[in-house]
């Protein structure tokens, strides 16, 4: 399932893949952009009427800044703007500065569809960085497919999708889930699991995969429950957990419900230093709302934590804080959103064109060694190869990274045997 790479062979393999891809050759991809040379004529890099001039290229940022989802999507907007700033500071893409048009999806799926139509059909943007919930992505998907747009989608999500017009820069479900469960089984000797989730497709699909994986390993799921979004009363399920005494609470609760869940868990006397809890939905962003003291000791399985100790990340965190304030926290999705613009830039430069078809053709195999999470590469199924890490929540709202998969996890949006 995962493919091993040695540090040494990584570049070579990528290189071969790169050559294998039948695209405009020559300009070797390098994550450190070349100084802007003589820009290619617009007529050559833009044959489909996108909003590209001799100096600028226009992209879209489309997230909710109002409504219930604004809470979650703010970080993504900030990351995307930071990436665009940085790229512009380095000379832009194909010698053109990136201009962005920001649209508010207002936490409302039809609005997302309407705004994506506007961005693609009126503004003719070269790419869109946006969406957060699956529902909003599902709503805009037909628009992107019909208008042949390009969407970089940052959120970890349920998989079950592979659109030619979308690049998924967060992890799909198996990447997060399998590594996490394997780890908890191995390290904690877990035998029984209690699965919890908010009531919509991502938690349900994820728990389905988790359950299959748990049962494949001969272990047991002792409970599985879902709650309406925004639910704030978890006392009943906490009582059940207390009685069932599972080895692991596997929680995929999202949004405001998290706050209630962890506070009530703590208040009920469940100490997460003793009771193992593994989540794939709580990033540093969510902890701000939950309060570090309420979740300290919990484990999270995802690909990025703010505390990751590598030079890429240090630079990223610093730049992010310099731009958006020192108090800010950066979660997994924020980092994934940051990757979007860079991946697009790399693909455009490889394709030497903004044309969507050419960018898409160039994308497979694009790698980013400058990614804050370390290294990512675009799989031909439009998802990213990435490592999965386990973090342990600290009282200050950060995670200690205590484990990472040795290998990159292969994205597998339609996992055989887990459906």
């Amino acid at each position: 399932m995962t493919i091993r790479y040695s540090a040494g062979s990584r570049l070579t393999k990528a290189w071969k893949r790169f050559l294998g891809a039948a695209v405009i050759g020559g300009a070797a991809f390098t994550p450190i952009p070349a100084l802007a040379g003589p820009a290619l004529p617009t007529s050559q890099v833009n044959t489909t009427g996108l909003a590209v001039t001799d100096d600028t290229v226009t992209v879209g940022i489309m997230h909710s800044v109002t409504g219930t989802m604004a809470i979650s999507e703010t970080g993504s907007v900030q990351a995307e703007k930071l990436a665009i700033d940085q790229i512009n500071a380095m000379g832009g893409v194909l010698g053109r500065k990136i201009k962005f048009i920001q649209e508010d999806g207002a936490s409302d799926w039809p609005t997302f569809a309407e705004k994506s139509k506007k961005l693609l059909e009126k503004d003719k943007v070269a790419a869109v960085f946006g969406c957060w919930t699956s529902a909003s992505r599902k709503a805009v998907l037909p628009v992107f497919e019909k208008d042949n747009g390009l969407l970089y989608y940052p959120t970890f999500y349920e998989g079950l999708e592979e659109s030619p017009n979308v690049y998924y820069t967060g992890q799909e479900a198996t990447q997060q889930i399998l590594a996490g469960i394997d780890w908890v089984v191995k390290e904690k000797g877990a035998k029984t699991f209690y699965l919890l989730g908010s009531d919509y497709i991502w938690p349900r699909t994820s728990n389905k995969i988790a359950r299959k994986h748990i049962e494949k390993n001969g272990l047991k799921v002792v409970g599985e429950e879902y709650f309406p979004l925004g639910h704030t009363q978890f006392n009943s399920v906490i009582n059940k957990i207390k009685l069932k005494k599972p080895d692991v609470i596997y929680a995929i609760i999202v949004g405001g419900s998290n706050v209630a869940f962890y506070k009530q868990l703590k208040a009920a006397g469940i100490d997460l230093n003793k009771q193992t809890l593994l989540t794939i939905s709580v990033t540093e962003d969510e902890i701000r709302g939950i309060g570090g003291e309420n979740i300290v000791g919990a484990y999270a399985a995802m690909k990025y934590f703010q505390s990751l100790d590598n030079p890429n990340n240090k630079a990223f965190v610093k730049a992010f804080k310099d731009k958006w304030g020192q108090d800010i926290v950066i979660g997994d999705v924020t980092q994934a959103a940051y990757l979007g613009a860079w991946l697009w830039k790399a693909a455009v430069e490889k394709a030497q064109s903004f044309d969507v078809d050419k960018v898409r053709a160039a994308s497979t195999g694009i790698e980013l060694t400058t990614a804050p999470e370390g290294y990512v590469r675009i799989h031909k199924n439009h998802h990213l190869w990435s490592k999965t890490r386990i973090g342990r929540a600290r009282a200050d709202g950060q995670y200690d990274v205590i484990y990472e998969t040795k290998d990159l996890m292969e994205p597998d949006p339609f996992p055989k045997g887990y459906q």
Binding site: V65, T74, F227, G230, S236, L243, G256, A260, A267
Partner: protein, 308 residues
């Protein structure tokens, strides 16, 4: 359904579920009290009720920050201060709102509904502009953490006990104010016969404003209490509004005792159902039952019998 539980576990389930129901009851009642005062006594449909609750939550958040900065030594006490601050802030805003808007709409209850919906949108955006779109966490003082261990398997969370106690206290105070204070006397007189109350020398306008402010203040106290168990974000208030209205209507709009009974029955049924089915379905069933009973008995559980 009970397979796999031992007898003692079943007892524990019973006790702890009962207590979970009590906590839910406290939450519902706290939410509904303010509304019961405003809707039940004044006939105003305040759709911004949820936003008044959130105001209380944000006040708690601010108070905790002030304490962290200025009085770290007595940080644990911030929560009690926060409740007072929340009550005052809610009452002040309510006073203002009544003066600016509500008093012009007393004879058009459905229009108060629409206008206060507009108020709720504006308040949400104000919160978002001031506190940001993200949820803010309020750190609970240590003394509210943990659980009372009654037995090996029976544990009652301290904050749950506190919410329950707070609700009991607030309800008692409100009942006391309604039925023992001169202000409550005026409110009841105005509700029963507004023109006659005026002819007896009671300033109905002032009573209205105070009543509205009190209802809003209580809503904010509920919001402050919610920071212990829920989230604080600009839009969190909307989650509660339907439930809250149902509690009040189900209880019989003009009866505070009805509100208490209705909060109790709704919370207990939801809490028990949650044990047997998913949270979503439990909620659907509870709401359906409430609506069903309201179809049979539209005036709610309790009606004040009065001859006109």
């Amino acid at each position: 359904m009970f397979d796999g539980y031992t007898a003692s576990e079943l007892v524990s389930i019973f006790v702890m579920q009962g207590f979970a129901g009590l906590i839910l009851f406290s939450v519902f009642l706290l939410m509904a009290l303010g509304l019961a005062i405003i809707f039940g006594q004044m006939g105003v449909i305040n759709m911004a009720h949820g936003e008044f609750m959130i105001l209380g939550a944000y006040m708690t958040y601010l108070t905790s920050h002030v304490f962290k900065g200025a009085f770290p030594g007595i940080y644990g006490a911030y929560f009690l201060v926060a409740i007072v601050v929340a009550a005052l802030a809610g009452a002040a805003l309510g006073w203002l709102l009544e003066w600016a808007l509500i008093r012009h709409l007393y004879h058009r209850p459905l229009d108060t509904l629409l206008a206060t919906w507009g108020v709720s949108m504006i308040l949400q955006q104000i919160y978002r502009s001031i506190f940001g779109a993200r949820e803010v966490g309020v750190e609970l003082p240590d003394w509210l953490m943990g659980a009372f261990h009654l037995s090996d398997t029976i544990e009652l969370p301290v904050n749950g006990v506190f919410v329950f106690a707070l609700t009991a206290a607030i309800s008692t105070i409100i009942l006391f104010m309604m039925f023992r204070s001169r202000w409550g006397l005026q409110v009841r007189a105005v509700v029963q016969n507004r023109p006659m109350a005026g002819a007896a020398g009671i300033n109905g306008t002032r009573v209205d404003r105070m009543t509205f402010a009190l209802g809003c203040g209580v809503a904010s106290i509920a919001g402050a209490a919610f920071t212990m168990i829920g989230s604080t974000g600009p839009t969190a208030g909307q989650l509660y509004i339907v439930d809250t209205f149902l509690v009040v209507v189900f209880g019989g709009a003009q009866s505070l005792f009805g509100t208490i009974a209705s909060a109790f029955s709704i919370s207990q049924s939801q809490s028990s159902l949650e044990f047997f089915m998913s949270g979503s379905m439990a909620k659907v069933f509870t709401l359906l039952t409430v609506v069903g009973i309201l179809l049979l008995r539209p005036q709610g559980l309790f009606v004040l019998k009065m001859r006109k």
